[in-house]
């Protein structure tokens, strides 16, 4: 008798306890208490598979890449290019030529602002950002605007942290040259309506860059379905190493852009009269790359695929709902960022108690949160606050950890009376 396999998910069920065992640091104690790590928006912890992948590079297959005729160089090159293919699949890019390795999302945005910007921007042109951008998606554009005379236009948000799409639609005009907006706000958790953002921009032939730092670890990405022009994210937020990230760009756009950094690896022929450049993606990868970082990031993608990003997303949404209702029960606590479409980021303030004091007390309870402006000062100004406390959730967090956060907040109130 034939067994029906359709619609059967053969992957293991999502088991948070098993996942926690994959992350060695989660069994560490801080001040004698179990570590409750709720600072995933700043950087995620690493599974054993990633740590092992990085060690394996140095123990078994390390040499410089794309240069040597020798065995080890070929091994390292193959491992690095395997990782590029893993990234391509992870984001469903059309071609590996569209996957550029950079130091992180920040470098990716700087690359686009500088290289694409120098070629395409002139005085009076407009760059559209939103008020909830991370500083890394503001300052690179300010720098290129200063050099070219282009102007920044800022899309406002409503009180709950939703992007004002009417204002955006009105802002996109003949002067608009590029739109650079976050996919998920790091300070508020808002998921922006990226399909609509891209559709409106493309109607006017305006390219769109999305900052995917907070999205990449939490949702399925599909560059071709999105039809986005540039997309950036960082390895360390998807449970991989720091110092490595990805810039995705449509081949046609990347091809037309001048190099960002000059050096080895990115050249074709060099003479003192003229240098011709390597093809994509190498044109934008001057110098010896972060080889072990790239391979480690590939390991992180393998790990996420093994767990299943859809299952991660469902688990985190459950924790978001649970965390939201638990925090709403805490006296004089106010959530900042309550958009209907939200990722598992809980930003909040407490009446008459400064976030830094809250953060210090939570820390002594073993609870790691971020306090401050989250590199998004314009958002803080928007809500007329100096800082927030931010608990950002990852795949290994649990309801019990949310309870420990709430217990910590109760201690804060006890101390501050």
């Amino acid at each position: 008798m034939a067994t029906k396999l359709e619609n059967t998910d053969l992957r293991p069920a999502f088991d948070v306890e098993r996942i926690r065992q994959d992350f060695p640091i989660l069994s560490e104690k801080v001040y004698g208490k179990p570590l409750v790590y709720l600072d995933n928006g700043a950087s995620a912890q690493k599974p054993r598979a990633v740590i092992d992948a990085i060690s394996a590079v140095y123990e078994t297959e390390y040499a410089n890449v794309h240069r040597g005729v020798h065995y080890m160089s070929q091994m390292a090159t193959d491992a690095m290019e395997d990782a590029r293919e893993k990234v391509r699949t992870f984001i469903n890019a059309r071609d590996i030529r569209e996957v550029i390795f950079v130091r992180g999302a920040t470098e990716g945005i700087n690359l686009v602002a500088s290289s694409w910007g120098r070629k395409n921007l002139s005085a009076g042109d407009e760059i559209i950002l939103s008020v909830m951008e991370h500083h890394s998606n503001i300052v690179p554009w300010q720098l290129i605007a200063e050099q070219t005379g282009a102007l920044l236009k800022v899309v406002p948000i409503s009180d709950n942290g939703s992007l004002d799409m009417d204002a955006y639609a009105e802002m996109v005009c003949a002067k608009t040259k590029i739109v650079a907006i976050t996919h998920i706000s790091n300070s508020l958790g808002t998921i922006t309506p990226v399909d609509e953002i891209i559709r409106i921009a493309h109607e006017k032939d305006v390219p769109v860059l999305l900052d995917g730092c907070q999205a990449a670890p939490h949702m399925e990405l599909d560059m071709q379905a999105l039809d986005v022009d540039f997309y950036v994210f960082s390895g360390h937020k998807i449970y991989g190493p720091s110092g490595i990230g990805v810039l995705y760009g449509k081949e046609k756009l990347l091809d037309a852009m001048p190099p960002y950094h000059g050096g080895g690896e990115m050249i074709d022929v060099v003479t003192f009269e003229k240098t011709t450049y390597a093809d994509l993606p190498f044109k934008f990868e001057a110098g010896t790359p972060h080889i072990s970082g790239i391979i480690g990031m590939g390991g992180a993608i393998d790990y996420i695929n093994m767990v299943g990003i859809d299952k991660v997303a469902a688990h985190e949404q459950d924790l978001l709902e649970y965390g939201t209702s638990r925090l709403c029960g805490v006296n004089s606590l106010k959530l900042i960022g309550t958009a209907p479409q939200k990722a598992a980021i809980l930003s909040f303030v407490m009446e008459k108690i400064h976030p830094h004091d809250v953060g210090t007390i939570l820390d002594r309870e073993g609870v790691a949160v971020r306090t401050g402006h989250h590199c998004a000062q314009p958002v803080m100004d928007r809500y007329d606050i100096a800082a927030t406390i931010r608990a950002s959730i990852g795949m290994y967090n649990t309801r019990e950890e949310i309870d420990l956060l709430v217990a910590g907040l109760e201690r804060v109130q006890e101390i501050f009376g």
Binding site: Y31, K352, I353, H354, P355, H356, D357, T360, I361, R364, T371, G372, H373, Q377, M380, A386, A387, R411, I415, F416, G417
Partner: protein
């Protein structure tokens, strides 16, 4: 539970942070300077009146955590009536206290400021405790631009 929190957040510190003394912008000041912690966005402005090398009045305006407000509030009380030299000596002594330096530093009696000694167990909070002090030193040195602690 001795995790340092009860030392850090003593009642006297909480009182200063809830009801900061000498608080608000001064109408007239001989010397003024801003302190700014770019890491957390906290800001403090110090206003000093100087009569014959003596600090005759000190006021501050700020946005910050309990530690930075309490420290600024106590500082304005402590430096009033002191010579510039004494205020600088007090700053050095206070810095040694909150950074947990054991060396003996001469200078005026720290008095109530000793309640901030718990800060030395919280290295990430030293900059909160010293923000207003760096601004005061900036004002006394005639540094007009922002004093930053990071």
């Amino acid at each position: 539970m001795n995790d340092g929190l009860t030392d850090l957040y003593q009642e006297v510190i909480l009182d200063h942070s809830r009801n900061p003394r000498n608080f608000g912008p001064a109408e007239e000041a001989d010397l003024t300077a801003q302190g700014n912690n770019p890491l957390c966005g906290d800001r403090v402005t110090i206003f000093l009146k100087i009569d014959d090398d003596m600090i005759s009045a000190a006021q501050f305006d700020a946005r910050g955590c309990a530690i930075s407000l309490a420290s600024a509030s106590m500082m304005t009380e402590m430096i009033k009536g002191k010579s510039i030299e004494e205020a600088m000596a007090l700053f050095r002594k206070f810095l040694a206290l909150v950074t947990g330096e054991n060396s003996v530093v001469s200078g005026p009696d720290l008095a109530e400021l000793t309640t901030l000694s718990g800060v030395s167990n919280f290295p990430t909070r030293v900059k909160c405790a010293t923000l207003a002090w760096h601004a005061m030193v900036g004002a006394l040195n005639g540094i007009d631009e922002d004093v930053k602690t990071e």
